[in-house]
Symmetry: C2
Subunit: 342 residues, 2 copies
DNA sequence: TTGAAAGCGCTACCAG
DNA sequence: CTGGTAGCGCTTTCAA
């Protein structure tokens, strides 16, 4: 493993010059630059991460992380927040501080203001679960345009200039739900679907993936009815109950939003627990209980811990180590969880 | 984030002394030691990983990694080897070299000799997929007893003194297969089982998990017949074919060993593809193809990449950073893969 | 038993 | 445009 020092020695220049060449900082005599590059290539130089990390400490980087919910509201985000805190503790060691803020999903002005605050507060990079609204999108575009790195997490605003997105491929996760539903029901089912809101892109993407796929591949699966629960357990109970009463032929449920507990209460309330094939999203504690009870057949996870930590890593690599993300989309796996592998 | 330097300053001692206290090396005046510890505790000192890593480079550690198969034989281990190589490249940066050796699963003497060679060659730690045989077990016990760190991977020899095991919880993965089989078949099935060899602990553990679980929980699932394929595709074809002919009532297969391709060839040969519920282990390329074709319903993965990399990390943490593994068993997840989430 | 100093690889700064 | 130097946190060695 060659080092900058060795390259400097071989090239007959100083370490500073090698550093300038390899990291495109400052300007260097083209001849020397060429020589350095040749040697680096010949020796297959790769920078030492520990060295870079240690040196990066002096930068005292500050990151902002804006995400939905005030922790208590949506248990899925609790896992994300836990992962953020853990990673933030680790990053503290290398001089990074992380400022975590919460905004609600329905207030673009508030989220835009939150971005402004963080930037004014001097953060060097931002992770955000963005609301897909011009007020936010434009601000992100503007920031990115000025060289400020933004990573979107959990949900994306394509084309806003962010350096990467970390989160689920919702469309594909909809297909996975279809595949699972097909296996569980033997290929023939009358499905009731519960979604959060047609306006939340994630949920509608999931539903598109599911719908298109069953129409194309699993023609024995039919969607009989759809209900909207606003990601709320109380609403969820009511609309699910109504749907099940109105469509007694329903023999399976796809719960494509939060509010899984409410929906399952409705199922139990009608004495249908264990009689319906139920597939839902997000592996949260209440869902695990329902799986153990035999109410839910399978839950589809989306690696919340990765969604929390990875964006911070990308930001640190970018700002601390000078490494640009190697891809634009860091899709999380759609994990299938049943009672036995919870 | 406090540093050793700060603690030294506050305690009125040198960095060397602080180091000695915090890492129990050399002896220190009890009074000073106490003071240092108090300050470290008060400041919630945690060592800086980058600093430690950098300093560890001077140790020039050497690890050995003994595993089954010569890569080509079992595609599962190809993923493991790939992960080992990747992690080894990363560790090279911090002065670690990894010597990877292959042994066959049926030659304990050869594996024991291989261990001896590596140790004689001066490795500081060893990762091994051990053959569960006294010849190997005793050697591992002896090594461990003398303070030499061993990590078992993929398969374990309990009580051999190794500092940790990284791999599947086979019994539990058998239960997961049962759960999946139950979902796919609607709770009623006549199952044919293919195992590698009753002598390979992993496979028999899987089968125990599966068997005990269905007897207890899924009483509609019956095992009609078992076949042994010696992890070989040719044998697998033959024994599976024979079994399916002899037991035409079989409507589902559990493939608990390698040789998945051979077994599926038999299924196709008899025109049964798409008509049987098939659950198998290990997400390898040929298996993925069979899932896409609709021959296999689900495959259960065991995180080969983690099995390759994690043991090396544990060894480096132990020898390079002075950190003992925080648990004895690092179980991999049993990942459920179907056509849509491959 | 202890302190001082060098060095792991990299970056930043200053002087020229 | 360039070289030298200091320093990030930790370990190790040498001298006292």
């Amino acid at each position: 493993m060659p080092t900058i020092k060795e390259i400097a020695l071989l090239a007959g220049v100083s370490r500073g010059t090698v550093d300038r060449v390899l990291n495109n900082r400052g300007s260097v005599d083209p001849k020397k630059a060429k020589k350095v590059l040749e040697i680096a290539r010949a020796l297959e130089y790769t920078p030492n991460i520990a060295g870079k990390t240690l040196a990066a400490k002096k930068k005292q980087l500050k990151f902002g992380y804006i995400l939905f919910g005030s922790t208590s509201s949506n248990p899925f985000f609790e896992d994300v927040v836990r992962a953020i805190k853990n990673r933030a503790d680790e990053l503290a060691e290398v001089g990074v501080t992380v400022d975590v803020r919460f905004t609600t999903i329905d207030k673009p002005e508030a989220q835009a203001a939150c971005i402004d605050e963080l930037v004014a507060g001097g953060v060097d990079g931002l992770v955000i679960t963005p609301i897909n609204h011009p007020l936010v999108a434009d601000k992100l575009r503007e920031l990115s345009g000025s060289g400020f790195p933004v990573v979107t997490a959990n949900t994306d605003v394509p084309g806003c200039g962010r350096i990467a997105y970390v989160g689920s491929d919702y469309y594909k996760s909809g297909e996975t739900a279809a595949g699972m539903m097909n296996l569980i029901t033997g290929g023939s089912a009358n499905i009731g679907v519960v979604i959060g809101s047609p306006l939340v892109l994630c949920h509608s993407e999931r539903l598109s993936g599911f719908t298109n796929y069953i129409e194309k591949v699993f023609t024995g699966l039919k969607i009989l009815a759809k209900a909207v629960n606003n990601d709320d357990d109380i609403d969820s109970f009511r609309v699910t109950r109504d749907m099940l009463i109105r469509f007694p032929e329903i023999d399976s449920l796809l719960l494509a939003a939060a509010g899984v507990l409410g929906a399952c209460r409705a199922v139990k309330d009608l004495g249908l627990d264990g009689k319906l094939a139920i597939v839902c999203y997000d592996v949260v504690p209440t869902t695990c209980d329902l799986i153990r009870e035999g109410v839910i057949s399978a839950a589809l996870g989306q690696q919340p811990a990765l969604q929390g930590a990875k964006p911070l890593d990308l930001l640190f690599d970018y700002l601390g180590m000078g490494v640009t993300p190697e891809k634009e989309f860091y899709y999380t796996e759609t994990e299938i969880k049943i009672r036995e592998n919870l």
